[in-house]
């Protein structure tokens, strides 16, 4: 197993490029967000300025549905079916508000960042001659990649959620910054215990579920903020978010997708542990925390269908779940000594 160090360094360059592009994308989304406020506060948005366009039937893939800048209208449009077609300009296309143009640029840059991000992991994997998630730096890079990918998939299916961009990219950027500094590790092979195809299976599942749960966690946090605003009018900026019901729904859908994958990650981990450590479950700190996260997410899925728990309480549970996942990544790997201490930090 040979390590190609120069290639690994090139991977780091790609990593920082992706990070820089994401930051730029987040700034553009922030500008979009800022302009929304102006439009909203200017009240005098003439009705002639097309507020919303349902692209055709709203169902053809690839068609982008434009969402009104007016937050009040946004709630209605945020459902399954975009709002009915509004007035159009002569060429059949509505003029785009400036905020939307910034938002679209943000999305384009996010896609570009994702491309660099993917290239970074490919280069790392080739340089190290193994799946590129053998230490915390690589793991964080992979999780954030899935997080961005999950976000873009959601965006593709529900273009009206574009306003979330700044909030989804923020934790991605923070995680990548931590990964690039505190957790940074040079390309290197891994210990014999990790020489197993289960590294690819178990860790890939953990990466995918963590990335999707990252998005779900963000959606639930925003849901909580938005629903507080809805009930007492505080935090006016959250009025520009998609409606509470929509946020709640995307959080649930993402968690519902991620939960079976997380379950699989835990089971695959147990199968691997049986082969590597002589038992399928031994309450290693990482196993314990994975179990706690699983139980909390199971609680969220149940809470969402229990009278008296729907809404804010359930969302809070989802946020706690994400907190446990973060704790599992950082605290358990860096502070607690256990069998999963491969962080490669230090």
């Amino acid at each position: 197993m040979n390590v190609d160090a120069p290639l690994g360094d090139f991977g780091d360059v790609l990593f920082y490029s992706a990070l820089a592009v994401y930051i730029l994308a987040m700034l553009l989304h922030a500008v979009e967000h800022g302009m929304l406020r102006r439009v909203a506060s200017a009240e005098a948005v003439p009705a002639a300025v097309p507020a919303a366009v349902g692209a055709g039937g709203g169902d053809e893939p690839g068609t982008t549905t434009v969402v009104p800048d007016d937050p009040a209208a946004g709630d209605d449009a945020a459902g399954d079916d975009p709002a009915p077609a509004g007035p159009r300009t002569r060429d059949g296309r509505p003029p785009r508000p400036a905020s939307e143009r910034f938002g679209r640029m943000g999305v384009s840059l996010t896609v570009l960042g994702l491309g660099l991000h993917i290239a970074m992991l490919v280069v790392r994997g080739v340089a190290a001659d193994r799946p590129p998630w053998g230490n915390m730096y690589e793991f964080v890079a992979a999780v954030t990649l899935v997080g961005v990918l999950a976000w873009l998939v959601v965006l593709f299916r529900r273009p009206e959620l574009r306003r979330l961009g700044v909030f989804v990219l923020l934790p991605v950027i923070v995680l990548m910054m931590l990964g690039g500094t505190v957790l940074y590790t040079q390309t290197a092979p891994v210990v014999p215990a990790l020489h197993s195809y289960w590294l690819a299976i178990h860790v890939t599942a953990a990466v995918i579920s963590s990335g999707i749960l990252l998005f779900a966690g963000v959606a639930s946090v925003l849901y909580l903020l938005r629903s507080v605003h809805d009930s007492n009018g505080r935090m006016a900026w959250t009025a520009k978010l998609p409606g509470a019901a929509v946020l709640d729904r995307v959080a649930y859908r993402a968690t519902a997708v991620a939960f079976p994958i997380w379950t699989f990650a835990v089971i695959a981990g147990a199968i691997w542990a049986e082969a590597a450590w002589g038992r399928y479950w031994g309450w290693d700190p990482k196993e314990t925390t994975a179990f706690i996260a699983w139980v909390v997410y199971a609680g969220y899925l149940h809470a969402r269908s229990t009278a008296g728990w729907r809404g804010r309480k359930a969302a809070a549970v989802n946020v706690v779940g994400f907190a446990v996942m973060s704790f599992n990544l950082f605290f358990v790997n860096l502070v607690v000594t256990g069998l999963h201490s491969y962080a490669g930090v230090g």
């Binding site: 210990v191 729904r249 859908r253 002589g278 038992r279 479950w281 899925l301």
Partner: protein, 569 residues
């Protein structure tokens, strides 16, 4: 886990005083059961379970890391005993942790039984009749069809292949179709929860009838036999295992090989073994060769043998002044995991000495440090984990090793109190490479012959492990079905238009046309059903529908995850 139903107000008249107490008791039992099996209680128990497991993430546990627990006691002399009193260091076998998950599972059973029954009933039940007013459903469309209602129904039947479907007749020749799909969601949900139960039972069986043992074996053809607890260095039996009835097998370790990269990082470990299972031992058949590697244990007959550690054993030959020789190699303990600098004590009794007093003056111990790749020089340190330039820094002690004191002592060291009392005296200190020897003042020579390797093997036996795996796979299938399958309903009502009436859609006169109404309702997650409904509509109402609407989705109380529960319990 079912939803709490408010118990109906007791309308029965005041019962006779004599029968009242047991009625109260019954009511109490019933209410307790209802409370326990309610969804809210289950949720609380779930969160309690997560909370109860939390200390296990912060604090070391005796099971996986006994040494860390010791260290914690040393570091926190006042706090640790207090925590120990409530079982924090054996968290997952404490009564209170068990209480939480047992209550949770009782709650689960209390919910699963009625829901399974409902599901079985539901298989035979007919689909829900077509609502009177389809236009009030979230998905609705209406149009006309030149064909008769019966033809429309037949067409719908063809289109809705795979749906559970009932055709009903209403007065005036009206035909309706009610269709349902997605029953697998609830099936998956039930499978998931039942698998959880099976998983718990499997784990429990493993804890009762399984065992784990560690043993160090020299990798020089030495043999280990699974004959009883005494064969092991450490043995962790299940609650129903007394160690008298272990499955017999023997294992010879012929060779151990470790590969390291130039920087000393390990690349692979491998042990070549030969094993004989019970049948081979009985028949005297030749043992089967096998290799054990990291991530690749030896498995046979429900036994698993793991390679979990390795190290070096310097071999010494002592030639006593009377010419008698004794050769011994015993494992030394690696003190540095990356360079394998090891320490240990190889202990000798002078042969032929029967007098205890003399024996206690003449015992020998060779202690010190061993380096597989020595740095050379006066102070021996190790620079590389592989055996390239071995050297031992030997301290030779003579006197009373204290082996008869009845006190246990480490195989990796000597009893320091004997040294302090002057009963064990250091008589020489030299660095030796293989082949070199030293001579003590009484003419005894000690030769460092060679270096052997040892492996630590773990034998694991868990009769329920396969069952646990099957339960885990069923659990995964169940949860995936229950979170991805969507339950939805679709209704069609075809009403005959009066014979000879003009159909407005294409201007043709039709003899027996129908006006067709479609309705749809997603019972779990609204998202996505709109598209499916649209496809059904275009297939069934190819002409432009006269009306169509979709009400914006709302949070359906029925939309749920694994605990999706429409029914009562």
């Amino acid at each position: 886990m079912t939803q709490t139903l408010k118990s109906p107000p007791d309308e029965s008249p005041e019962p006779p005083a004599g029968r009242r107490w047991w009625r109260d008791l019954l009511a109490l039992a019933r209410n307790t059961w209802r409370g326990l099996t309610s969804m809210r209680t289950a949720l609380i128990l779930l969160f309690l379970l997560a909370l109860a497991a939390l200390p296990g993430a912060f604090l070391p546990q005796r099971g996986p890391s006994p040494q860390a627990v010791q260290d914690y006691f040393t570091a926190h002399p006042t706090l640790a005993p207090l925590l120990d009193k409530i079982g924090i260091f054996n968290l997952f076998s404490t009564p209170w942790f068990s209480a939480v998950y047992l209550l949770l599972f009782i709650s689960l059973v209390g919910c699963l039984v009625p829901r399974t029954w409902e599901q079985i009933q539901g298989l035979r039940a007919r689909t829900v009749a077509v609502p009177r007013n389809l236009s009030r459903l979230p998905h609705h469309a209406a149009g006309t069809d030149p064909r008769s209602p019966d033809d429309v129904v037949a067409d719908t039947r063809r289109r809705l292949r795979g749906w559970k479907l009932d055709v009903r007749e209403e007065p005036d020749g009206v035909r309706t179709v009610s269709a349902e799909r997605g029953a697998l969601r609830e099936v998956g949900n039930l499978v998931f929860h039942m698998s959880l139960l099976a998983l718990l039972i499997g784990i429990a069986v493993g804890k009762l009838f399984g065992y784990e043992g560690d043993v160090i074996v020299m990798a020089d053809g030495s043999e280990f036999c699974n004959s009883g607890i005494l064969s092991y260095d450490t043995f962790r039996p299940g609650l129903q295992v007394d160690g008298t009835n272990l499955d017999p097998f023997c294992l010879d370790v012929d060779r151990f090989d470790a590969q390291y990269r130039p920087d000393g990082a390990p690349e692979s470990y491998r042990a070549d073994v030969r094993y004989s299972d019970a049948a081979q031992i009985a028949d005297g058949a030749a043992p089967t060769p096998a290799t054990i590697q990291v991530n690749d244990p030896l498995r046979f007959d429900g036994e698993r043998v793991y390679l979990i550690d390795h190290g070096y054993a310097p071999q010494f030959t002592v030639t006593f002044p009377d010419g008698q020789q004794r050769t011994q190699a015993i494992q030394w303990e690696p003190v540095n995991p990356s360079t394998f600098l090891s320490q240990g004590a190889t202990k000798f009794d002078r042969p032929g000495v029967t007098d205890d007093a003399t024996r206690r003056r003449t015992q020998l111990a060779i202690t010190g440090l061993f380096a597989p790749t020595s740095s050379g020089g006066g102070v021996v340190t190790s620079t590389y984990p592989a055996l390239t330039a071995p050297e031992v820094a030997a301290d030779v002690y003579r006197g009373d090793l204290g082996l008869d004191s009845g006190k246990g002592q480490s195989i990796f060291g000597i009893d320091q109190s004997m040294v302090d009392q002057g009963r064990l005296v250091r008589v020489d200190r030299q660095n030796l490479v293989p082949g070199q020897s030293l001579t003590l003042d009484d003419g005894t020579t000690i030769r460092f012959d060679a270096v052997k390797q040892w492996v630590r093997l773990q034998v694991s036996h868990d009769p329920a492990q396969d069952a646990v795996l099957v339960a885990a796979i069923a659990l995964l299938v169940g949860i995936t079905l229950s979170l991805t399958v969507k339950r939805r309903r679709f209704w069609v009502r075809a009403t005959p238009t009066a014979p000879g009436a003009r159909s407005t859609t294409d201007g043709r006169t039709v003899a027996a046309g129908s006006s067709v109404e479609l309705g749809g309702l997603a019972r779990t997650d609204q998202a996505g059903y709109g598209e499916e409904f649209d496809r059904l509509r275009t297939d069934l109402l190819p002409d432009r529908p006269t009306s169509r609407h979709e009400t914006p989705p709302r949070t359906d109380p029925d939309e749920a995850g694994p605990g999706d529960h429409g029914g009562s319990g």
